[in-house]
């Protein structure tokens, strides 16, 4: 069948109702896409202009006025001359360090705990589970005043590793549930067979369950790696003199702050958002898996 014939058949089947519904549907989708993309395009446009005022930024990026001046500034501007990286890259590196440590610790600890909860019966199990469930619902910054004080007392302020430990402690409960849910679906006959062959608990865990749980650990790892990039509140309190990317962004974002510079914010934000967006879209199916896990868990 040629294209022409196909088209004719299609035209034949076309009814008025279909045309109207089709117009409405595509009109709606078009409108939604416009709503979704207008602010995004504006951000892109602002990041690549040489305009200094927000009001001068065109909504739709103009290719003829393309300029990298914002990024040049971003990657070279240093507040003190003896630092190797620019302020922005430095904040980026700090955050990267936090994110990497966070990933390793969260994955290791929550798979251990998830394993224990999916495989063993022990005294106090329900209580621990219930308190973890409860804890995960409270924003960690409710204890932030205390953390700030303790950290000041023990000289841990501005220490990225100490900040990471807070993240880890906060992330374990939620991830434990995810790991536990996943591991419960791994048949117990596997462990039993291994135990009959004389495997110890440790061997069962390391050689059988953990390798099977790699997909869910990947999901946790991505989440744990993402978290520090976008957290503002904790670092702003715990690391008052050391920037993470989010703090850097907020400084130029805050209309009340004396450094208010929305254009700078937009270029920095875009640079951060693009890799994260790509990862998110690429990891979509795993993240949806996590969502449905959440649905099971309630």
């Amino acid at each position: 069948m040629t294209v022409k014939e196909k088209f004719q058949r299609w035209l034949k089947r076309l009814t008025v109702k279909k045309v109207i519904i089709g117009t409405l549907v595509y009109g709606w989708l078009g409108l939604m896409i416009a709503i979704v993309f207008t602010p995004v395009l504006w951000m892109v446009s602002a990041a690549f202009t040489d305009a200094t005022q927000l009001a001068q930024v065109p909504v739709i990026p103009k290719l003829s006025e393309w300029s990298l001046v914002n990024y040049k500034e971003l990657f070279t501007e240093k507040s003190t001359s003896d630092q190797a990286l620019s302020d922005y890259l430095r904040a980026f590196a700090t955050t990267f360090m936090i994110a990497a440590t966070n990933t390793v610790l969260v994955v290791a600890l929550s798979s251990l705990v998830g394993f224990a909860f999916s495989r063993y019966r022990f005294k106090g199990k329900k209580k621990v589970l219930l308190s973890m469930m409860g804890l995960q619902m409270f924003p960690s910054f409710m204890g932030m005043l205390a953390l700030f004080m303790f950290f000041r007392q023990f000289g841990l302020l501005n220490n990225p590793f100490a900040l990471t430990l807070i993240y880890v402690a906060g992330a374990i409960p939620y991830n434990t549930f995810i790991v536990r849910g996943f591991m419960r679906n791994i048949p117990k006959s596997l462990d039993e067979a291994a135990a009959i062959d004389g495997a110890t608990n440790l061997q069962v865990m390391m050689k059988i369950i953990i390798p099977l749980a790699v997909p869910i650990m990947g999901f946790i790892a991505v989440n744990a790696f993402m978290q520090p990039w976008l957290d503002y509140i904790l670092p702003s309190v715990i690391m008052p003199q050391r920037d993470t990317v989010a703090i850097w962004l907020f400084r130029f974002m805050d209309p009340l702050g004396h450094e208010y510079d929305p254009i700078k914010f937009m270029s920095g934000a875009l640079f951060l958002a693009v890799p994260i967006m790509l990862v998110q879209i690429y990891m979509q199916r795993y993240l949806i898996y996590g969502l449905t896990q959440g649905a099971d868990k309630g």
């Binding site: 979704v36 224990a116 619902m137 807070i166 974002m253 998110q280």
Partner: protein
């Protein structure tokens, strides 16, 4: 009139649904709550009574075992030694030793012993704080927790004037209530851990002897290690995580909790003043003072409306999008799916800050577009008709900052939240739609069902059942969705000055019109012009109770959660 019957049915169904889902749930909730609290108290009282009865019984029936337990009571590990179980005694002794070493290394008992007390005696009638001056981490910690400090800068004590912080001559330094409270909480928590080791030691000494009587032998070292490794494997692997959670989550929460019972605000200048235990005064203040009650009521109502609206709107739009994209009218499904999940892929923090700019007063994108198109005045008039914009406003529309446009700012927040949040549900529901068996639709086709009927009786119930738990999770998440408020509107616009009562205004503690509880708490705590720590703590406790109850109730309903295999 089949139609009316049908619609009546629908209304009845909706009514029944509401009744079952909402009213019955609320009733169940309180029923459940009462039972839980009753059970908790009954359990506690019974436990307490039985504890003593059991001790009495033990001494009467198994005196030898009981005395071994008793020796562990006086010195943890001693009972284990008497049971000839060195391998248990040694770790217990080590724990005890660690605590003692910490206590003595951080205390200055040597100075006390070397006659310093005699050299600098407290004057007649002057109280003498031994633990304050010479105690170690634990004793001084408990002292601090109880008293929250006694001496401030300039006080005369033991012949010296309290001046600066000094490590060796501890008593010369002024007390800092917040440090004392913090260290006290840590010391208290660590002592609790020591207490549980102690308790274990007593119980174990008793049990081991009973086993010895029964079997005639004491468990051997190797057997014990093997058993611990097997049985306690679960404990061993969760311990690192639990310790982290205790120190970085529980202890800080405990600290915040305790602050609610003090008079600590930013006005207490530490060093010169101490803050003190204040009982339920702060609770009384927020309940009795009409000013605080008004703000609390406003904020609470807005928090609930916000949490509800932002969960429902994203759900509905997500559902609509999923249905449209999955419908037979749309080709290029994948293209539209990817395009429309973009807001989800952009980190929320960045989207929120971006929208703060989009709705900025002058240079914001929205006002820019409006004024380019020349629609500013028309839109302002329209919004004024709706009551979203105040009578006096002129010029650019102040989306997030106009003091008389509180409702407008609230609407904007919900709309932005919708922009950010709908793709999550779109994805979730798209996934659920794929799980509906095609046979259901085929059967419906045979019965001649219309598209709407198929949606009404097959798709919607199926989707709702699969996603209901997520709606509840989203609601609790939004209840505490600090970022959505703080980064977008910063809680603003503030209330018009004449609407803020004097007692709140002097503290600078009034919330903004779009502040939800959690963002107000943040302001109360960390805004350096406010720093009402105790108030913030009280509100935190209220949130804590609210969310905790909902969470526990939700969980208790979830059979799969408790199902053990």
């Amino acid at each position: 009139m089949g139609d009316t019957n049908d619609s009546k049915n629908v209304f009845q169904r909706v009514g029944a649904f509401l009744y079952q889902q909402v009213l019955l749930r609320i009733v169940h909730f309180f029923e459940f709550l009462g039972l839980k609290i009753y059970g908790l108290f009954k359990g506690l009282v019974l436990k307490f009574v039985y504890f003593f009865i059991n001790i009495y019984k033990a001494f009467k029936e198994e005196p030898k075992a009981a005395f071994k337990g008793l020796s562990s009571f006086f010195l943890p590990g001693l009972g284990q030694v008497r049971n000839k179980q060195w391998y248990k005694a040694i770790p217990i002794f080590v724990v005890l030793l660690v605590f003692l070493v910490i206590e003595f290394a951080t205390g200055s008992y040597m100075y006390a012993l070397s006659g310093e007390i005699a050299d600098f005696p407290a004057a007649a009638g002057e109280p003498f704080y031994f633990f304050r001056d010479y105690g170690g981490f634990f004793t001084k910690g408990i002292w601090g927790l109880v008293t929250l400090g006694e001496l401030t800068l300039g006080d005369a004590y033991r012949g010296e004037t309290i001046v600066i912080y000094d490590r060796i001559f501890t008593w010369k330094s002024a007390d800092n209530s917040q440090v004392l409270l913090g260290e006290g909480v840590i010391a208290f928590s660590m002592l609790l851990m020591l207490g549980s080791v102690w308790y274990f030691s007593v119980k174990d000494a008793f049990r081991t002897h009973l086993d010895y009587v029964r079997t005639g032998q004491v468990e051997e070292y190797k057997v014990f290690i093997r058993r611990v490794w097997d049985e306690f494997f679960a404990y061993i692997i969760i311990i690192p995580a639990v310790i982290l959670i205790v120190f970085f989550t529980l202890i800080p929460f405990l600290f915040s909790f305790l602050v609610a019972f003090t008079n600590w605000t930013g006005r207490v200048s530490l060093g010169e003043q101490l803050f003190k235990w204040d009982g339920f005064e702060t609770f009384k203040l927020i309940v009795q003072s009409a000013d605080w009650l008004k703000f609390f009521g406003d904020v609470l109502i807005w928090t609930i409306i916000y949490a509800f609206m932002s969960s429902v709107t994203v759900y509905v739009l997500g559902l609509i999008q999923a249905l449209i994209i999955e419908s037979k009218y749309v080709v290029f499904k994948k293209f539209f799916r990817v395009m429309l999940i973009i807001p989800w892929a952009i980190p929320a923090l960045i989207s929120l800050m971006l929208f703060r700019n989009v709705f900025a007063d002058n240079a914001g994108l929205f006002n820019q577009l409006l004024s380019d198109a020349g629609w500013t005045d028309a839109l302002r008039e329209f919004l004024r008709e709706l009551g979203l914009v105040g009578q006096a406003s002129e010029g650019n529309i102040l989306w997030l900052t106009g003091k008389e446009n509180g409702l407008l700012a609230k609407s904007i927040i919900i709309i932005v939240n919708l922009w950010i949040g709908y793709p999550y549900f779109m994805m979730l529901i798209t996934g659920v739609l794929g799980t509906i068996p095609a046979s259901l639709y085929e059967a419906a086709d045979i019965d001649g069902a219309t598209d709407f009927q198929k949606f009404r009786f097959i798709t919607f119930p199926w989707v709702l059942r699969a996603t209901a738990p997520v709606i509840i999770t989203t609601f609790t998440f939004n209840f505490n969705n600090f970022g959505a408020i703080y980064f977008l509107s910063g809680g603003g616009p503030g209330y018009p000055t004449d609407q803020i009562p004097e007692s709140v205004r002097v503290l600078g503690a009034a919330p903004g019109q779009t502040d939800i509880l959690i963002s107000w708490i943040y302001k109360l705590t960390f805004q350096s012009t406010v720093n009402q720590y105790n108030l913030a703590s009280v509100y935190s406790i209220l949130i804590f109770i609210f969310i905790g109850l909902v969470a526990v109730y939700n969980l208790s309903k979830l059979k799969s959660f408790w199902e053990e295999d």
